[in-house]
Structure formats: C-alpha cells, structure tokens
C-alpha cells in the first residue's frame, strides 16, 4: 500500500518539461580526398558510461576528461560504426585523433573528437551503424549534419545499429557543379592566360612588322568569336571523352602540354608566325585543356551512371566563367588599343611575362619541380 501512495505522489508533477534528451552531434564534411569527422558527445553521457569523475567530487575537470581521451575515442568509434569507401570502391582509413577539445552547448559541455578519413579518390559511400549509448539510453540520438559541395543535409540517427547508407557523390546538385565549373576556370590561371594570350592581339592589325589599332569592331568580334568557339568546342570534346573514361592520358603530360600551349600562344604574339586563323592553334591546344578540366570534374567524385547532367553543367559553368573573363577583357583592350603603349608594353611586355611564367610551369610539370608556387 505504501508503494502505491509513493507512486501516486509522482503523478501531480504533471507535465513539467525540461531539458532536451541526450544528443551527440556528428559533423561530416566530404572533400576530394576524404572526409573530416567531428563528433561532439556530452560529458554527462560520457561520465555515465566511463565514470570520468576520477575523484568522485561530482564535477568534471579538464584533467579528468583529457586523461581518458583514448577510451572516449574508442567509445565514439564503436558507437559510430563508420565505414567509408571512395569512388573506386576501396576503403578509406581513419587518421589519428586530433587533440581533444571542448564545446559549450545549450545543455552543457561536450567533448569534441576530430579526425580525418583519408581516401585514394573522392569519398563516396558512407555507412553509419549508429549505436552510441544503445545500452544505457535508447532515447539518445545522433544528429548528423553532412556537409559537402552540394550543401548540408541533416539526419537524426537512433542508436539501433541499423546501417544508414549515404552516397556522398550523389549529393552534388547540378547547380553546384555549374558553380564548380565557373570556379575552376577562374582559379585556373593557365587556362585564362592561354585565352588572354590569344585575345591580346585581337584588337590590333599586323602591317608588315608593325601593329596598328583595328578600326572596325566587327572583324575583331568575329576573330574573338572564332577563337573562343574553337577553344570551347575542342575542350568540350576531350572533357567528355575523359569524363566517360574513353580517353585517359596521364595528367603529367596533360598539365605539361597545357603549360606549353600557354608558352606557344604568348611567343606567337612576340614573333608572329600564325597571324590569320589563330582558331586552328586554339582548337589544337583546346583539346589538351579539356583533359585538364576533366581531372577537376573527377575530383568531385560523381557517379558514372549519372554523369551526363553534371558533365553538361560543369562544361556550361566553364563556358560562363570563360565568357565573363573574355567580355571584361575585350572591353578593356578595345578601349586601350589606340594608346601608343599598347603594342609594345601590353602586347609585348604582357606576352613576355606570360611566356616566362608558362616556361616555369612547363619545367615544373615536366620534371616535377617546385619553382613558382603558383
């Protein structure tokens, strides 16, 4: 009877709600060569499981937590059950744990465990068999936020040990691939310098051994259109061939040839050999640049089955980025073409600088050296 009354007393507490229940936070960020993993686990939960409070004073000190780093990490690793495979299907390996840190969250302090997973290629298949605190608190949840090029994804995992399978490669949205294309051309100094070398003389007309400013815009635009179209057509062909693994030349030769193409284009401005129909030169070298774009596309770790869409978007991104550079550049040089310094300093000096830089790249890439840091 006494027991009943004791239980009856409990009822009047009604629905007094309080803190949230136990959560751990998993932040996983995939990139070209692996994944960075961060797990935040509440110190209170860890203490319940591992009795961290060594001196039993009801308080956790940094020393008490730090001394048990290894066991905390083991508990986390077992609880996560993380398996990662890359785009080629081989397993990725976890690296050493970064030094333990602490985070303050709304319901107390958390231990922060960070490490990298290293892959041979882009990280692709992620499996989590989550069972952290499965035996001591079934209401515990793992709140996973998966970050990648395509944006964030949040998932709530109960500790039931069921394998949650996530495809990192499939996470790329078409828009993000478009942005990657634009990004790639903008940071790809070699591609841009190749184009600029071809466009520098476009606003001038060669007469004998001298340059004079072009008088009409139309032939200039036609020439630019020819050069840009040839470049686009050529690199689109090889980009597609390489993306579908039909042609896969070694990247060292591709990169060296790209450097050589910049060198040739710049030298042709200093000692013009090919004046009319520069588009032919552009087309030939454009083929090489396409292989270069392909390696950037592959770093995104896309699925072979669903490559067509991203390939198109990546290419479109490259063209958009290229169009923006060309438009801005042509506006500038058209305005400057009648200045006396244009032929000697902009065309001559600029091309000489580009040629020097390209020569440096060529040596670097051919002989695997570090000269320029670019």
């Amino acid at each position: 009877m006494k027991r009943i009354l004791l239980m009856l007393m409990l009822l009047c507490a009604g629905a007094a709600q309080a803190h949230k229940a136990s959560d751990a936070y998993l932040i996983l960020e995939a990139d070209a060569t692996g994944l960075s993993q961060r797990v935040d686990i509440a110190l209170r939960d860890l203490d319940r499981e591992l009795q961290l409070d060594a001196n039993a004073d009801g308080q956790l000190s940094w020393g008490e937590v730090r001394a048990r780093t290894h066991e905390i990490d083991q508990l986390a690793q077992q609880g996560l059950g993380l398996v990662l495979r890359d785009a080629d299907g081989s397993s990725c390996t976890p690296q050493a744990l970064a030094p333990l840190q602490i985070e303050s969250r709304s319901d107390g302090r958390y231990a922060v465990l960070q490490r990298r997973w290293q892959c041979q290629a882009a990280a692709q298949d992620l499996t989590l068999s989550y069972r952290l605190f499965a035996d001591s608190d079934p209401t515990h949840r793992g709140v996973l936020s998966l970050r990648g090029p395509a944006g964030d994804q949040t998932l709530v995992l109960p500790p039931d040990g069921e394998a949650a399978q996530l495809r990192l490669g499939a996470a790329h949205s078409l828009l993000s691939v478009l942005r990657d294309g634009v990004h790639h051309i903008w940071i790809g100094l070699d591609h841009i310098l190749f184009l600029l070398s071809l466009l520098l003389p476009a606003v001038l007309v060669r007469e004998g051994t001298h340059w004079r400013p072009a008088t009409h815009l139309k032939p200039v635009l036609l020439e630019v259109l020819g050069v840009v179209s040839a470049f686009t057509l050529a690199h689109s062909i090889t980009l597609a061939l390489a993306a579908f693994d039909i042609l896969n030349p070694p990247s060292r030769w591709v990169e060296s040839l790209i450097a050589a193409s910049v060198l040739v284009a710049a030298l042709n401005n200093l000692w013009p050999l090919l004046l009319h129909g520069r588009w032919r030169l552009t087309f030939a070298f454009g083929l090489v640049h396409g292989f270069g774009f392909a390696s950037a596309l592959k770093e995104l770790g896309l699925q072979r089955e669903a490559l067509a869409g991203p390939l198109l978007m990546f290419n479109l991104g490259v063209e958009l980025g290229q169009l923006a550079v060309v438009t801005a550049f042509m506006g500038l040089v058209w305005g400057l073409r009648q200045r006396s310094f244009y032929p000697r300093w902009l065309l001559g000096g600029g091309s000489a600088l580009i040629a020097l830089l390209a020569l440096g790249w060529l040596l670097e890439r051919l002989f695997d050296l570090q000269l320029l840091g670019l």
Binding site: A16, Q17, H19, R105, D135
Partner: protein, 387 residues
C-alpha cells in the same frame, strides 16, 4: 533602448553557437557539474524487481529535476521488456508513466487501458486508473477522466484501503474545480480533503492553489507556497512563478526560479522560461542571455525531432520573451492538439488575441476555445484579467 541592449548578448550568444571548440587552459578547469549518478549497479541482466526499482527512481528524478536523460535510463533499465506487446503488469505501468512524461499520450493510454482490462494485481490497476485519469484530464477528455475518478472513489478498489478512495475524491474535486459551476463546492471539498491523513498533501495544496488562482482569489499565493513546501516540483514552482509574473512581481519571480538553481544552463526549460520573462520585463542585464539560451534549446530539440514536445514553452516564449505573434499562435495551436489544461487554454486564448496574429488562424483558435468552454464549462479569472 534597454530592449535593444538586451539583444546584443543574444546575438553574441547565437554566434557563439557557431564558434569553434576550445582547449581548456589547465587540467584543473572545471567543465561540468554532474547530476547524481545512478548507483553503479550493472545495467545489463538485472532481475525484474531490481530493474523496476531503479527505473522508478530514475523516473522520479526526471520529474523532480527535469532531466529527460533520466527517462532514457529508465527505458534502458526496462530494455528486456520494453518492446514486448504485453510486458509484465508492473513494467507496463511504468512504461505508461514514462511514455506520458515523454508526451506520448496515446501510447500511454493504450498501455493503461490494457492494464485495466487485465487481471493485473488490484494495486497496479488502481495506479493505472489514476494515471489514466491524469492523462485524460490533461488531454481535455474530462468526461472519461470523471469515470476513472469515480471508480477510484467508489468501491472497486475498496479492498486496498481508504487511501485509494481519498485519491479518487481528490481527482473528482479537481475536475469539479475546473468547471465554473462546481468551483465553490470543489474548494470546500479540497479544504476538507486536505485534513485527511491519507491525502496526497502536495497535490491537494497545488489543486487548491490553482483553483484559487482561477477564481482570482489572493490566497492562491500562500497555497502555492505551501504546495511547494510539501513537494518541491518544477511544475509547482513554475505555477507560483506565473502567479508572480501575472502580478508584475518580476524580482520575486526571478528569485523563486533561482532558488531552484542559479546556473542558467542547469535550469529546466519551464523555469528558465519564467526567468527570461521576469528579466526581460524588468530590463535585467542578463535578459538577453536567458532568452538566447532558451532559443538555443528549442533549436536543439527541433533538430532531434522533438519540436512539438516544447510547443507549450515555445508559445509562451513567442508571447512574452521574443514577441512574434505568428509563431506564438502556431505553437499554441500545436500545443492545444497535445495538451488541454487551463494553462494551455489561456496560452491559446492570449495568442489568438495578439494584433499581429494571422486572422484565419486566430479565428480558428478562438472558435476552438469557445467550443471547449461550452463543452467543459472551464472558467478562469485570468482570462478577464489579461484582457
């Protein structure tokens, strides 16, 4: 201006949420105050009586200290039986109580109905009947609750002694007290029951205090204080804080909350909410901090998928801490679908009257309350006080 200043720490705090983790300066740096740890008994493979006793203790701590982690422990202790369609009656009863505390009312009622239909020991059935009455009352199903209370007060459980009957009469008096026409009688009945030695003192005092508040009587304050003395539950403390807040006694309300716990991060949501209201209204320097802390908790709960369990607190937050008419009304409606106590009705009624509330939703909410009042006869002086 004060209000603006309050926002600054709030912004800083929400930024801090994004900040990177840190490495403490020295080994002696204190990181966390720990709750009382469960006796380090082996958790796996406990026999049923031990598992039940430990789980019951965990549930009790959850209710006194407001830490839902304890509910998880209780569930873990009962793991071997938790998923059984019909576990042993004692487990089933405890499971219903845990489910109820987790706001999973329908699942709780299923277990309780099954227990009452079974041949479980009479004592367990009496407890199931009482828990069921509490859940039904909370859900606004007063007629069914009355049936349960009547059985408790009658002869069905007479074999267990007069204690059960007293509980049944308290339970009936509570239902009467909610309805305008029964108020005076209920007050008299509760005053009489308070003198019974078998009566649950804390509960009776709380009911008397709540009734006095709904009737607009000043003795409510003393009754709340007595109830808190008899049983220092979070629910009672929050109810007294609300009484003080309604009388603009900001400092008293804040002091009452801080008497439970001074560390903001360790305050249960319900109490932190009252503190944030008091501090904001009085322009306290830490008002922004308390508000940001609450906001962060709501966000964290929503992230794990527990958003609706906090609808009551979120509605109040949007009403009195960071005014947002639309949010207040939406949360009050979500809460009304789950809980229908006088406090929930008051919340919905206040939210529906906010000038910025979406018109069709507000009309819908007003209609729901009117209907509930007509059907139940709920009377509450706070409604006219707040208008």
């Amino acid at each position: 201006m004060r209000r603006l200043l309050g926002l600054i720490p709030l912004l800083l705090l929400s930024l801090r949420g994004l900040a990177s983790p840190f490495t403490p300066q020295s080994d002696d740096e204190a990181l966390e105050q720990l709750p009382r740890r469960l006796a380090t008994a082996p958790r796996q493979g406990l026999a049923l009586p031990q598992a039940l006793a430990l789980a019951q203790a965990a549930l009790q701590r959850a209710r006194q200290e407001g830490d839902p982690r304890e509910l998880g422990q209780a569930q873990a202790l009962l793991a071997p039986w938790w998923r059984l369609p019909s576990p042993p009656p004692a487990v089933r009863l405890l499971r219903a109580s845990i489910l109820q505390t987790q706001h999973r009312f329908d699942a709780a009622l299923q277990d309780l109905d099954a227990l009452l239909a079974s041949s479980a020991p009479l004592a367990l059935r009496a407890q199931a009947e009482l828990t069921r009455a509490a859940v039904l009352q909370l859900r606004g199903r007063w007629a069914e609750a009355r049936g349960a209370c009547t059985r408790l007060a009658g002869l069905s459980y007479a074999a267990l002694g007069s204690g059960v009957q007293v509980h049944g009469r308290v339970c009936l008096a509570e239902l009467d007290s909610l309805q305008g026409h029964g108020e005076a009688d209920a007050a008299a009945a509760l005053a009489q029951l308070a003198r019974y030695p078998q009566a649950p003192t804390g509960w009776v005092r709380l009911l008397r205090a709540e009734l006095a508040e709904r009737r607009g009587l000043p003795e409510a304050e003393a009754l709340y204080a007595q109830a808190l003395q008899a049983e220092p539950s979070i629910y009672t403390r929050a109810a007294l804080a609300d009484w003080l807040l309604a009388r603009r006694r900001w400092a008293d309300a804040a002091a009452l909350v801080l008497a439970h716990e001074v560390e903001l991060t360790r305050l249960p949501d319900a109490l932190l909410l009252r503190l944030a209201i008091a501090w904001r209204a009085s322009g306290h320097a830490r008002a922004g901090e308390a508000a940001a802390q609450l906001h962060e908790r709501f966000e964290a709960a929503a992230l794990r998928g527990d958003g609706s369990a906090h609808a009551r607190e979120r509605a109040r937050y949007a009403l009195d801490v960071r005014p947002d008419a639309r949010e207040a009304l939406q949360q009050a409606i979500a809460n009304w679908a789950l809980q229908r106590e006088p406090a929930d009705a008051l919340l919905l009624w206040r939210a529906a009257r906010l000038p910025g509330a979406p018109k069709p939703l507000a009309a819908q909410a007003r209609q729901a309350i009117e209907q509930f009042r007509r059907e139940t006869g709920l009377n509450d002086a706070r409604w006219s006080a707040a208008s």
